[in-house]
């Protein structure tokens, strides 16, 4: 087509596409974004398959509200409870952000379980998505640890005694239990260093772990594709390789003559 390029097209070309090309040439970022966003999805997906995104949204809410709460909270045994009262009762909209974080924690865990139930009932954990399931289970475990460590931070009677019970429950595990309990409590009993330790776990260690796991999880979802529902007539995701009559396992890892 020998169409003359309009002024407008030239403008778009120089203002948007050229910089994007420049970035993509150096980072492959545009290609990666396209790979991530523009995927084949089975025609008959349903609302049930949005539970994973919903869980991710709940997690993002937790991250943002948590970061903001950390700006006002003090993890010191003498002042922690006062800082919580300060956030809730005095700071503008503090009640809202703390409430979002507090209730959002439950929402996150509930959505995790619903998402897990959907994947289980749809059989979406089967080949080739086994590792997606396993990373998901690790996300669930890390999420529960986040709940456990976050519960202490309000530093009121409920938080304190629930955590005493939680620590001592860990303490009843055979062999390593008493050691684990003493590590978690920073001594034989909850003491002055416990709150800061749990704050660090809740703020730094566990979020780092869960964000890394979510990254792997989403990469796997993108790579392997969305599975179709069990009642679907069409196959989704990656094509299954051609069945080899020999049934040998060679080529599973190193490739035994297969050409892609």
């Amino acid at each position: 087509m020998a169409k003359r390029t309009s002024k407008r097209a030239t403008l778009v070309e120089t203002a948007v596409l050229v910089p994007l090309d420049w970035v993509d040439e150096r980072t492959a970022g545009v290609r990666a974004t396209k790979w991530f966003l523009f995927r084949h999805v089975p025609r008959d997906v349903s609302w049930a398959q949005t539970l994973g995104s919903a869980t991710l949204t709940a997690f993002i809410v937790q991250t943002l509200t948590g970061v903001i709460l950390a700006m006002y909270y003090t993890p010191d045994p003498r002042t922690a409870y006062q800082s919580i009262e300060h956030i809730t009762n005095e700071l503008t909209l503090g009640w809202l952000v703390r409430g979002m974080h507090r209730w959002g924690a439950s929402v996150f865990i509930i959505l995790l379980f619903l998402h897990m139930g959907r994947v289980f009932l749809f059989g979406a954990y089967k080949y080739p998505r086994e590792l997606t399931w396993i990373t998901g289970v690790l996300i669930l475990a890390t999420g529960m640890l986040l709940g456990f460590t976050g519960y202490l931070l309000p530093w009121d009677q409920t938080a304190y005694w629930a955590t005493v019970v939680g620590i001592n429950l860990n303490g009843t595990a055979p062999f390593a239990g008493p050691w684990l309990a003493q590590f978690l409590a920073s001594g034989p009993e909850i003491g002055a260093d416990t709150l800061a330790k749990w704050y660090a776990l809740h703020m730094l260690v566990l979020p780092g772990a869960i964000i890394a796991l979510i990254g792997v999880h989403i990469y796997l979802v993108t790579r392997l594709g969305v599975s179709s529902p069990p009642w679907s007539s069409e196959q989704a995701g990656r094509e299954r390789p051609v069945v080899q009559p020999t049934g040998a396992r060679t080529g599973l890892v190193r490739g035994g003559g297969g050409a892609e």
Partner: protein
């Protein structure tokens, strides 16, 4: 897309034995709560069905010797590469690139270890080493009437504040047969999961005393109860009901210049007899919920207080 082998069915054939195995495990866990007979039946079921399951699953594999290609690479002797002088190693077996590979890995591991170990140590060790608490002076022993419990509440580490508040139940038993004064001093934390045990009786708030920062409140109680999960103890701290696994923890004590001094905590398996004539089976302190005597104590062979004192 023609990688071979992906789609060969490498799942084992269907087997019904896992159901029996699951029932056995469930039975075993139930038995831990109900009775050992149920647990034994569960164990037998679980082991039996587990073996049948294993036989089912491995049916295809058994009898076939898998063909394994022998490893032909020369095994790198890393320790020699890093530590021993080059002359000591036999020259022909070691190429330059292998040496560099081993050196990089070895040096990297050494640097990583030197950096990581102290940091990990700092993360873990203070929980086990910096745990000593001072002796607590509860004041003159005249404040403790004979045969009556007193709730003593004190700060174990006054400079760390309220977080170090502890509570003891102190009963003056008069004099033992040896002529020494006898006290029963129970630690208020439940040996189920560490909740604050309460004396079952009226507290005499009018007789409340404050002695050198220690709060003393007499209470008419012949038993103790835990609000969290309903553990009950008698006046000697023996379990009478509920989930606790041993008797209430006690303090060692000494009397100096007529004042009652609390020492360290210890765990109690059981107390027979009462008051000054009690026989106490004494063990190093351990986490609430852990057994100190009986068969289950084998699950906790080494507890931190045995190591750190």
């Amino acid at each position: 897309m023609s990688e071979p082998g992906h789609d060969t069915p490498h799942v084992p054939g269907p087997s019904l034995w896992p159901i029996g195995f699951a029932i056995g495990v469930a039975c075993l866990l139930l038995g831990l709560v109900l009775s050992w007979i149920v647990a034994a039946i569960g164990a037998v079921l679980a082991v039996g069905f587990g073996l049948l399951w294993a036989r089912d699953v491995t049916r295809d594999v058994r009898g076939e010797v898998p063909e394994i290609e022998p490893e032909t690479r020369a095994v790198a002797d890393e320790a020699a590469a890093v530590a021993a002088p080059a002359a000591a190693a036999p020259p022909p077996t070691y190429s330059r690139s292998r040496f560099l590979e081993a050196t990089t890995l070895g040096l990297g591991a050494a640097i990583g270890g030197v950096l990581t170990l102290p940091v990990l140590g700092f993360m873990v060790l203070p929980s086990f080493t910096n745990v000593e608490e001072d002796e607590i002076d509860l004041g003159p022993i005249e404040n403790f009437d004979k045969g009556e419990y007193v709730i003593a509440s004190y700060l174990a580490l006054p400079e760390r504040g309220e977080v170090s508040r502890r509570t003891a139940f102190v009963r003056n038993n008069g004099f033992a047969e040896s002529g020494d004064p006898s006290f029963t001093i129970l630690y208020s934390r439940c040996v189920h999961l560490g909740c604050p045990v309460q004396p079952n009786g009226p507290i005499d708030e009018a007789a409340k005393k404050e002695v050198d920062g220690v709060e003393l409140r007499p209470v008419l109680a012949q038993s103790f109860g835990c609000p969290c999960h309903g553990g009950l103890y008698d006046a000697e701290g023996n379990r009478t009901a509920g989930p606790p696994v041993r008797s209430m923890d006690r303090y060692t004590f000494s009397i100096r210049n007529g004042r009652l001094i609390l020492g360290e905590l210890y765990a109690v398996g059981n107390v027979s007899g009462t008051g000054a004539n009690a026989t106490i089976s004494k063990y190093p302190w351990s986490t609430p919920g852990t057994h100190v005597d009986g068969l289950e104590a084998w699950l906790y062979p080494i507890v931190p207080s045995q190591v750190t004192g």
